[in-house]
């Protein structure tokens, strides 16, 4: 089969899986819906490998295959195919997305098994993977936007999966609205590109870019900024980030899937995919780099004080995506995508570990209530720690190599980028600290009640409640199911976490400076037209960066150890001494409050104005009232004429005829 054929299979498998699960759920016993969905994603992964093998057989400069299934629409001047583009970049993304998604599906098979919406969950999950793969494989802007919007819809469905929780439905709405802001940016940006170049498919647009636009051409910069709005909304970058922490209302594997490995990386992929446009508009690239840098610092500081386990990981995701956006924004594509890959591994792993811990806590998510799970959950402890080590870029974990690939590249470019890199290094130290804040607070110390009962062999099943508000809940459909599941007792969960832990450790092997460059050689054909294609920092500089990064990571971990294990209580004293700073961080730099005052309240006030003045007074009073009274008056008149007297009708007839006759007489004379 050709590379294009494999590419279509990559997209088709999850779609078929979604259709099968959603149509046949009534007849799927036990956990079979989950296994069918997992199989579909595994099929996708296999097809991606097939496409990879096909691409590698071709000569390096012919590794871009465009395949069209049929005409999407061809009208005057607008030609859009139902087309995909299979090249190293899209295949790389498809491999990461489908591979990690498959493991998360397997994890969910056990984790969600007592939920009443089991089949619905897997239908949504497959639909999400389909949308994401469509986004990745799309060969033109139209399909890209279709996939982009599908992903937003799927994330809405999954975040609001427990639809009887008002906090969850509200979080879903927030995510959807934020994403739609991004979608609008994407559509308008694509329109600007189309207006200037006349094409909508990547190959033609990129070929036309250099003629159509001067460097930093105003229109192109505007288009790229609009694309960035889309990227920032999907990737939860400042200032469109507020939906991501709230999205933790969804089931934990959803957080692992959407908010670690796939959807939030769409923005990174977008910039890498559109790099010929961004390189022609370096100003827009700088915007991306600066925003990414601001986000990574912002999110890292917030992660220091948040006490909800999943939200800490969510902020860490924002922070790590910030690194990637900063990387691809300053044209370090390979490094950015490398970090995307390793991040997908260790962040999915961290979420899975968090899910296991939350299961053991009976749904409780607050770090304040967790302690001492080390002996009770050895498997979760080891894998979670591996994930945390990779996140804090501890040598020789994968996270170290990928993060430092970005920072070293930026230091090498110098100037503004060097400043950004220094901020990146500072945040790397903070990252190590908050990563191990989680580890030490969850797994060390005296075991809490739940941990103690688990050590005694009894999984804690407390009351069912909403972890965000504490409201009591039942276990019917629309709320989490009655059973909790932990990795120690569920083989599928362990089967999903073990490979991720392994990959988190050794994932860096594909791109060690001076030793291996598999990833770079693989991605090279996709980025050979880049202006900075040949530019790489020297091996010595990279290793210096690695040593610095490793040291910062150790410093962060030791600091966390001192504060949370060696001498617990220091943190309370710091909090008491700096209450303002703590409040500022705890309120996430007051972004939600700011948006509430700037957007939400005015929008509500405007809505109320519309309801009372426009709707009630104008529409119902003037428009609808006016129209009905005119019609009513007209019918009254018509009724008055129809009085039923035969002679009146005859008289009207005679008068009319006489009038007509008179007219003709006057005409003829």
């Amino acid at each position: 089969m050709t590379a294009g054929g494999w590419g279509w299979l990559v997209v088709a498998f999850p779609l078929v899986g979604c259709a099968v699960v959603s149509l046949a759920w009534r007849w799927l016993p036990g956990r079979s819906a989950g296994w069918i969905a997992s199989g579909a994603v595994l099929g996708s992964f296999g097809s991606a490998i097939g496409a990879l093998a096909q691409l590698q057989d071709r000569p390096a400069h012919e590794r871009t295959v465009v395949s069209s299934l049929f005409d999407y629409f061809h009208t005057a001047g607008v030609n859009v195919d139902m087309g995909i583009q299979v090249d190293p970049l899209s295949v790389f993304m498809a491999l990461v997305v489908s591979g990690v998604s498959f493991l998360i599906h397997v994890y969910s098979v056990a984790y969600m098994s007592s939920d009443r919406g089991y089949a619905r969950y897997f239908a949504y999950l497959n639909y999400f993977v389909f949308s994401m793969l469509l986004l990745v494989m799309a060969g033109n802007f139209v399909l890209l936007i279709v996939g982009w919007a599908f992903v937003g819809a799927a994330s809405y469905l999954l975040i609001s999966f427990w639809y009887r929780r008002t906090t969850a439905t509200r979080a879903g709405l927030k995510a959807f609205v934020m994403n739609v802001i991004g979608d609008v940016g994407m559509v308008v940006g694509a329109f600007l590109i189309f207006r200037e170049t006349g094409f909508l498919d990547y190959q033609h647009v990129f070929a036309a870019t250099d003629h159509a636009f001067a460097v930093n051409d105003g229109t192109l910069v505007a288009a790229c900024i609009l694309f960035l709005v889309g990227a920032f909304a999907k990737s939860a970058q400042l200032p469109l980030h507020t939906w991501l922490p709230d999205a933790m209302e969804g089931p934990t594997p959803v957080s692992a899937l959407i908010h670690a490995a796939t959807m939030v990386t769409a923005g990174v992929y977008l910039i890498a995919r559109l790099h010929p446009l961004f390189e022609q508009a370096p100003a827009a690239g700088d915007v991306a780099a600066i925003v990414g840098c601001a986000t990574l610092l912002f999110a890292a500081t917030v992660a220091l004080v948040v006490t909800d386990l999943k939200r800490v990981i969510a902020y860490s995701t924002m922070s790590q995506i910030g690194y990637m956006i900063m990387g691809v924004g300053s044209f370090a594509y390979t490094a950015g995508l490398f970090h995307l890959m390793t991040h997908a591994f260790f962040k999915a792993l961290l979420f899975m570990g968090a899910g296991s811990v939350i299961g053991a806590m009976g749904g409780e998510q607050s770090l304040d209530k967790m302690r001492g799970f080390r002996r009770a959950m050895p498997f979760t402890f080891v894998t979670f720690t591996v994930g945390a080590l990779a996140l804090s870029a501890f040598p020789p974990m994968s996270g170290l190599f990928s993060k430092d690939a970005i920072l070293a590249f930026q230091l090498d470019r110098g100037g503004l980028y060097a400043v950004l890199a220094i901020v990146g290094y500072i945040a790397a130290g903070i990252t190590a600290f908050y990563a191990f804040r989680m580890v030490f607070r969850v797994f060390f110390g005296d075991p809490v009640e739940q941990a103690a009962s688990l050590e005694a062999g009894e999984l804690w099943h407390g009351e069912h409640f909403n972890p965000a508000t504490g409201e009591a809940e039942d276990t019917d459909v629309g709320f989490p199911g009655p059973e909790h599941h932990i990795a120690e007792r569920e083989r599928p969960m362990r089967a999903a976490m073990a490979p991720l832990a392994l990959l988190s450790i050794v994932g860096g092997i594909v791109f060690i400076p001076g030793v291996t460059d598999v990833l770079e050689r693989f991605l090279e054909p996709a980025f050979e037209d880049s202006r900075l294609a040949g530019q790489q920092p020297s091996v010595g500089a990279e290793w210096a960066g690695l040593v610095l990064g490793g040291m910062l990571s150790v410093v962060g971990i030791v600091a966390a150890w001192r504060m949370y294990v060696y001498r617990p209580g220091i943190t309370l004293r710091i909090r008491d001494r700096l209450p303002r700073v703590h409040d500022f961080l705890l309120h996430k730099w007051y972004f939600d409050e700011l948006y509430d005052a700037l957007v939400v309240r005015p929008a509500l006030a405007f809505g109320r104005f519309g309801q009372t003045v426009v709707e009630t007074a104008f529409v119902q009073g003037v428009v609808i009232g006016g129209a009905t009274s005119v019609v009513r008056a007209g019918t009254e008149l018509a009724r008055a004429i129809q009085n039923g007297y035969l002679r009146t009708y005859a008289l009207v007839l005679v008068i009319g005829l006489s009038g007509l006759g008179l007219y003709f007489l006057l005409q003829s004379s």
Binding site: R639, Q642, N643, G644, Y645, L646, R647, L651, V654
Partner: protein, 99 residues
Amino acid sequence: MDVVWFVVLAAFIFCIGAAGVLTRRNPLVVLLCLELMLNAGNLALVAFSRMVGNREGQVFALIVMVVAACEVVIGLGLIVAMYRRRLAIDVDEMRELSG
């Protein structure tokens, strides 16, 4: 004789018929007046036909008479039906069609 006399006579008869239709309330008389109007039209047709010198006008007049006969049959049938059902023989009483 000039055709004008015939046409003026026809116009008189037509006006008498029209006035009868508009003023009388007895359906029988209304029907008679309707016949007057039709025959005024017939007279005009025959007169013009004679003036022009072809026979088509005469044929038209004959056809109008046939139609008038049919109409009278229906009209008289209606009046008889009204009488049988003991309804008032008065067109002003028959106004159920008013809106």
